[in-house]
């Protein structure tokens, strides 16, 4: 098959770092080529070179047999290369049509925008590739999945036939992911070629034609789903043997640690977000809460950790009523909390690792004596945790803002796990992390369980919930539809519950 795009020996150096080292990749016509690698492996740098945002130090780009010298995104688009960024580049208050034609406008005489003509073109593209959109709709009103379609249409509108999708599934629900893959299939059937950047193994195995794995700026190898498996891919990505399936013994549930009784929680807009929810978590077990994002999990966790209070019902922790307790009280009773958004809630990014590690124990002995911070104790504490939790950093005084996502998460895990705890509330503990970090954090969570800690795991990653949990509660529209045994349930059963379908007879 002919190659539509070839990257030959691309090398890019940044001060002190070799981001891309002699990377060569070819993309064939009509294929979905997955570029797999951990965060920081050099995928994004490579694609930014292809897209004209960086200049390579060495190497060349060949598009359809012609050497291409890209120095701006416009050159890339003119050569038929288009990119959908992980964070969309859309104007929320503009309509679909206006966003699509932005920068490439159809004009009427006198410089007026020809929205009608553009909308017709969008409808044509939409029909040709099954990309259903409403040209007159405002972007801010559209769900993320549809916004992504608009991004794809933007590229097709400019006649791109090589599409680069950077982590396209990161923001999508499972159902939207399925939709996206149908669209990708349709696109390649009609002669487009796709580079699909991801770190999710399952997606690569299911949807890619070929897979190139990148690690530390180098190509580790190119393979196809037919001859490889997830474990092998993960090991290629990380450079060592990876356990994808956490080995865990049967849970030995003990006493009830957390008891939630018929609580109702409102969100910031005073709508009911958690609707008469009851459950309990026992010592030594993991209760997983599955569900599509935005079904009340956030508010549930906030209520359990004292960041908001239920308007109805009762929450007990180890026999104490904590329904209206504040975050400090709940923490002091032995709760650890890995927050859903590590940068927003879990860390003070300009602070050093050292200070982030005492973020909720700063006033306690031995870190403070008579209200004076004990800097040497705090530093010793930080150094030992950096070592123990394998936080990759020059030293403990480095600002957390300069750490990778995985290492930032390790700072939170180190902080929360390094004090005696009875209850762990982990919300999206591995969101956006690479395989190596995910494995690490999963092991730590199971370790806590085995030490007799009660664990509440909230995750929108179905695989994660299925792997770690002993029991799974599925949340849908603020309610818990069912609590199932993790050993006997299936992906399909949970998937249906997540969509709000309660199987007959249950």
């Amino acid at each position: 098959m002919e190659s539509v795009l070839e990257l030959r020996g691309i090398t890019k150096r940044f001060p002190g770092v070799l981001a891309n080292d002699q990377i060569s990749i070819d993309l064939r016509k009509g294929e979905i080529h997955a570029l797999l690698g951990e965060n920081g492996a050099g995928k994004t740098t490579l694609m930014n070179i292809l897209y004209g945002l960086y200049k390579p130090d060495e190497g060349e780009i060949v598009v359809k047999g012609q050497k291409l010298d890209v120095s701006s995104p416009r050159d890339a688009i003119n050569a038929g290369v288009g990119m959908v960024h992980q964070h969309f580049m859309l104007v929320p208050v503009f309509t679909v049509t206006e966003n699509v034609m932005l920068g490439d406008e159809y004009l009427l005489p006198g410089g007026f925008l020809d929205r009608k003509k553009a909308a017709r073109r969008i409808m044509e593209i939409s029909e040709q590739y099954n990309l259903a959109v409403e040209p007159g709709a405002f972007i801010r009103d559209l769900p993320v999945g549809i916004q992504q379609r608009v991004e794809i249409i933007k590229l097709l509108f400019r006649n791109a036939d090589i599409l680069i999708l950077d982590e396209p599934t990161a923001v999508l629900t499972p159902r939207e992911v399925d939709e996206l893959f149908k669209i990708m299939q349709k696109l390649v059937e009609q002669g487009k070629s796709i580079i699909f950047i991801t770190h999710k193994l399952r997606e690569v195995m299911e949807f890619a034609d070929r897979i190139t794995v990148i690690r530390g700026g180098k190509v580790v190898g190119t393979t196809t789903p037919g001859v490889t498996n997830q474990v092998q891919l993960a090991s290629m990505m990380v450079g060592r043997q990876i356990e994808l399936n956490i080995k865990k013994d049967l849970a030995k549930p003990g006493e009830v640690v957390l008891e939630v009784n018929d609580i109702k929680v409102l969100n910031a807009r005073h709508q009911i977000a958690v609707d008469h929810v009851s459950f309990e978590v026992r010592a030594g077990e993991v209760l997983g809460i599955a569900g599509v994002q935005g079904n009340g999990q956030t508010e549930l966790v906030r209520a359990l950790t004292g960041l908001t209070h239920p308007v109805n019902g009762k929450i007990s922790l180890l026999g104490s009523n904590i329904t209206h307790a504040n975050a400090k009280k709940i923490k002091e009773l032995g709760t650890a909390h890995i927050p859903e958004d590590r940068q927003k809630d879990g860390l003070v990014l300009p602070y050093s690792i050292e200070d982030n590690l005492i973020l909720n124990t700063w006033y306690e002995s031995p870190y403070a004596k008579r209200h004076i911070l004990q800097r040497d104790v705090i530093l010793d504490h930080a150094n030992s945790l950096v070592e123990k939790f394998d936080i990759r950093t020059p030293n403990a005084l480095t600002a957390t803002s300069s750490l990778s996502g995985g290492n930032q998460q390790k700072v939170i895990v180190a902080r929360e796990f390094s004090r005696p705890i009875r209850m762990l509330v982990a919300s999206q503990p591995t969101r956006g992390l690479d395989v190596g970090s995910i494995e690490y954090i999963h092991q730590r969570i199971i370790e806590k369980r085995d030490q007799g800690c009660a664990v509440l795991l909230v995750s929108t990653e179905l695989d994660e919930v299925m792997q770690l949990s002993d029991r799974i509660a599925v949340m849908y529209r603020g309610q818990i539809l069912a609590v199932v045994d993790a050993k006997t349930t299936t992906r399909e059963e949970i998937g249906l519950l997540m969509a709000g379908v309660v199987p007959a007879g249950s």
Partner: protein, 414 residues
Amino acid sequence: MTTSEKETAKPGAFSVFIEEVRKNSLTVTILAIISGLLAGGIIAVVTTEAVYQAVGHSFFAGIQAIFVVFWNTYRALFTGSVGVPADIIAAIGSGSSDAVNRALSPFFESLVQSTPYMFAGLAVALGFRVGLFNIGAEGQIFVGALATVWVGTSLKGWPAIAHIPLALLAGAAAGGIWGMIPGWLKAKTGAHEVINTIMMNYIAFRLSEYLLTGVLRDPNKPIPISAQIEKSAWLPRLFDDPNRFHLGFFIALLMALLVYILLFKTTWGFELRTVGSNPNAAKYSGMNIVRSTVITMILSGALAGMAGANEVLGVNHNLGVAFSSGYGFDSIALALLGNSHPLGVVLAALLFGFLRNGAIQMQLTAGIPIDIISVLQALILAFIAAPAIIRTIYRLKEPKPVGELVTTSAKEGK
């Protein structure tokens, strides 16, 4: 993401701005000051009529006139704020302590001018550290001065050892109350402190006019001005007249030290700074944002109130209408210049004090309008707020973005 809305405390535009300014390196700050000083000289040249006449005469006369103006401007600024070097040397040589005192008095007068800047600058800087924009320092200075004058004039026959602290404390308390009101409103109702501190300024200005034309007015004076405070409340001066250098300077330094210890050494400071840096993380950590906000505004107001007290007890010994002439507003600039750090504030306050004092001499001897100094201060701040200008002029490299890169290198190092 189509998630439900979360209860988040969004960082305000001001906090983002302050965060950005804080990233400036010391180099940028110093170069900004130098550039501001140079630009001030250029403006002095451009606004001097004699230069135009000389340029009209001949090219060389023009060049000469430009240098004369430059030279005179900076010389006047220097002699006005530090002293005349020849006089200082001669005075030291003469061995007469009175002569030394006179020769050095411009230098000490600059320190006197810096003192209210230190108090007010610390007030604003403390607010910045906790994510609060206290624009009300000016009003807090006024109410502080009012309370101090009241204590200073109404208590009679007290010993200085008790009268001075009490008068100072009264000023701090009044400023603290003035700061507490917007702080409390912010914490309880979310009303923005910028709006409310501005409103409190207006109330303070009108209140001072009301009191100074009413109960606090000295009936024997033709203008609305208070009576002189009792001698027992005067902050001791360290030298003979005309040197006005007084104890307030050291009290200001002590306050800077206390603010530094509070912010960086104590658990309270850790809590305050966390609230300022990331209120969501502060909440997550069980910190009390309401309490932090109110306490910070009280302390900030108290520091500003001490600036007013300091002027009354150390310099003026009475209080007239509109006495502060903008210390409170300048201190916002000064806190930014000092990177909201107590030490930085002290240095920035000294700079402002020396400029302000030198400017008077500049006007007297070089005929350069005093307002040039305001322009100069504004330019320094513009350069600091827009570091890109300074980086471009001096070809400084942007601080290297870290992030992904650190990880990769760390991994390779492993």
